[in-house]
């Protein structure tokens, strides 16, 4: 739960026993071959793992780098979020919980959570900022179809940060029956550790699928779960690890250390410590914080964090679509945009071998993209 000076468990006393119990339960489950087997079976026969590692031949030729794409967009529900929710929901069932509570930004985690809950017979309540509900209608409809209750959050910036607050409030009020199914590598211990472990399947698969250890491993970062899972597979290699943030939500580049949502990490904030409202075209990255392990990887220099602007992101979605026939999520397009911008330059010299995690698919973003056409 501690990553250097980051992490920790800054939660109300009411949640401390629940966090303790969760940490103990996850430790036990993660060491239990039967639990691992059940999860691995679901990942394979239900969620479609392993996801392929696709050589982006056309872009590679155009950019002068060798680009491999880890295709989380092909996982069930359309993003890497399914890896985490299946693990946590199995755990919640093992702990005797009756329902799950989840926050969501772009709706990808919400859809995944609703999916896992339906599959494993738990009730799902999903908290989503009103502003995100407006721009991610498709995912709202998917959650309802899956039988989940979507609760609009009308406070603050009405985005992911506020949805997270509201989910934690709901958890305090129903801590016995409910599991708080956090979607990223933020939050109090054990979440950053647990979610990274549940997402490391991305990096482990990619490592074994890649014909070589890449020079650079790139992933987008909001809270940072797909990046954490990807990096986990390569942290012990010589590969450079690059996280790409939204310019309007760049906690690493523009934030300072702080405590939000239960962990000490990097946070966009003002001089008093009021948390800033992030601003990104990608609802899933529209978040002023970042997981504490990323803060630590950044502080120690093991990983680099860069940012890209909304217009670069939109252009990246289109270029990847036209070059490779893959429409990725606006979130994932941040990583693509960084490669497009830096290829051939000092940060990404010609000839570099790059492994990039495409965290999700872009169906949900078609309306947004259409509006900026």
């Amino acid at each position: 739960g501690r990553f250097g000076g980051f992490g920790g468990r800054f939660v109300p006393e009411s949640l401390v026993p629940a966090c303790d119990a969760l940490a103990a339960a996850f430790s036990g489950a993660w060491a239990d071959p039967a639990f691992r087997a059940e999860l691995n079976d679901l990942l394979a026969v239900y969620a479609g793992r392993p996801t392929p590692l696709t050589p982006a031949r056309n872009l590679s030729a155009a950019l002068g780098v060798e680009l491999l794409l880890k295709r989380e967009d092909l996982a069930h529900t359309g993003s890497h979020k399914i890896n985490n929710v299946l693990g946590q929901t199995l755990l919640a069932r093992r702990m005797g919980k009756r329902r799950i509570l989840a926050e969501t930004g772009a709706g990808q985690h919400g859809v995944a959570a609703a999916t896992a809950a339906a599959l494993l017979g738990l009730e799902a309540t999903i908290f989503m900022g009103e502003r995100d509900i407006e721009r991610q209608q498709l995912n709202v409809l998917r959650m309802s179809t899956l039988g989940a209750t979507v609760v609009p959050v009308t406070t603050g910036s009405r985005t992911l940060k506020d949805a997270t607050n509201e989910a934690m409030r709901a958890w305090v009020a129903d801590v016995d029956d409910a599991h708080f199914l956090l979607g990223s590598v933020g939050g109090p211990h054990p979440y950053p550790w647990m979610v990274r472990e549940l997402q490391r399947v991305i990096g482990d698969e990619a490592r074994s699928q890649s014909p070589y250890v890449p020079d650079v491993v790139v992933a987008c970062v909001g809270g940072g779960s797909n990046a954490a899972g990807t990096f986990a597979g390569f942290v012990d290699t010589a590969a450079r690890l690059v996280g790409v943030e939204a310019a309007g939500g760049a906690a690493m580049s523009s934030g300072r250390a702080g405590v939000v949502h239960g962990a000490r990490s990097m946070v966009l904030q003002d001089a008093d410590g009021q948390v800033a409202e992030a601003e990104s075209i990608a609802a899933g990255l529209d978040y002023p914080g970042i997981g504490p392990e990323h803060a630590h990887l950044g502080a120690t220099g093991r990983a680099e964090y860069h940012s890209v602007k909304d217009d670069e992101v939109v252009a990246a979605v289109r270029r990847l679509a036209r070059a490779e026939g893959i429409i990725c999520a606006l979130e994932s397009a941040h990583a693509v945009a960084w490669v497009l911008r830096e290829a051939g330059g000092p940060l990404l010299p010609t000839g570099s071998r790059v492994l990039l995690t495409l965290s999700g698919r872009g169906d949900k973003d078609m309306a947004t993209l259409g509006a900026v056409a």
């Binding site: 006393e13 405590v259 939000v260 410590g273």
Partner: protein
């Protein structure tokens, strides 16, 4: 023994918010909890969220709040209630020093549990600020004992599992928890050294205040008052409101004293 009455006020909620503070003082508050508004009040219900949003939307800063307090004729002890990020942003030492300079007596940080409290506790002690820790209904006995030992000024009993906010009835967990705290104190210190146990979260109106006061040594009333402020109550209205609670508590105290012998078991493990 008279029950303590600690009303809560979100600093900066209106331009004349100091008038509400003075009204509470005039109504016989034993101390006032001053909420320093935070953008992400994770443990607060809708009312305090709204009050915080309103204060922040008015552009208040911590500096401005402290300056206003410093300039006001406040005699009653003040306890700051705010979240960890506001404490850590300037650094716990500087934050506590500034509180002390503005005349604060104590500090409550609801998202700073025992395990994370050491740094702030040191800084508070150095600055002469009492860092009050919270106990929840789910807190284990062992942990509760440690919190009681480390808390300063008061021990804060979170009456229920949930956020702040008005409820139809006081949770039954409140009495149980207050009793557990009292028992822990009894094992730890002499009766006269035991810190007062304040019961808070979801206490609204004179009746619930009396009930909560009966469970502990006093009561924090927040959302019920802030709801009135948000709905447009004047400082005079608020003074009347707090006065009514004060009166109810005092009346209950007299009755309890009179009935003490015969109702010892009902009134619980009072030290």
């Amino acid at each position: 023994m008279t029950k303590l009455l600690v009303p809560y006020l979100t600093a900066g909620v209106t331009e004349n918010w100091i008038d509400y503070l003075l009204a509470m003082q005039a109504a016989g508050a034993d101390a006032v909890e001053i909420g320093l508004p935070f953008s992400d009040p994770m443990l607060d219900g809708a009312t305090i969220q709204q009050a915080s949003d309103r204060a922040l939307a008015r552009g208040v800063t911590i500096d401005a709040i402290l300056a206003e307090i410093k300039g006001a004729p406040v005699r009653v002890p003040l306890i700051a209630f705010t979240y960890a990020n506001l404490v850590f942003r300037p650094g716990a030492e500087q934050f506590c020093r500034r509180l002390a300079e503005a005349g604060f007596r104590g500090l409550i940080v609801p998202d700073l549990p025992l395990d994370e409290a050491a740094e702030v506790a040191r800084a508070a002690e150095a600055a002469g600020i009492e860092l009050t820790l919270l106990v929840a209904p789910v807190t284990s006995d062992e942990r509760l004992a440690e919190i009681v030992a480390r808390s300063r000024g008061y021990v804060y009993a979170v009456s229920r599992m949930g956020t702040t906010g008005e409820r139809d009835a006081l949770a039954s967990t409140a009495a149980t928890l207050a009793a557990r705290i009292k028992a822990a104190q009894a094992a730890l210190v002499a009766p006269e050294e035991a810190l007062p146990v304040l019961v808070g979260f979801g206490v609204s109106g004179p009746e619930q205040a009396v009930e909560a006061g009966r469970a502990g040594d006093g009561v924090v009333i927040g959302s019920a008052l802030m709801r009135r402020v948000l709905d447009g109550a004047t400082p005079a209205d608020l003074e009347a409101e707090v006065t009514a609670v004060r009166a109810a508590l005092d009346r209950a105290d007299q009755e309890a004293t009179a009935d003490h012998a015969s109702h010892a078991q009902i009134s619980g493990h009072r030290g």
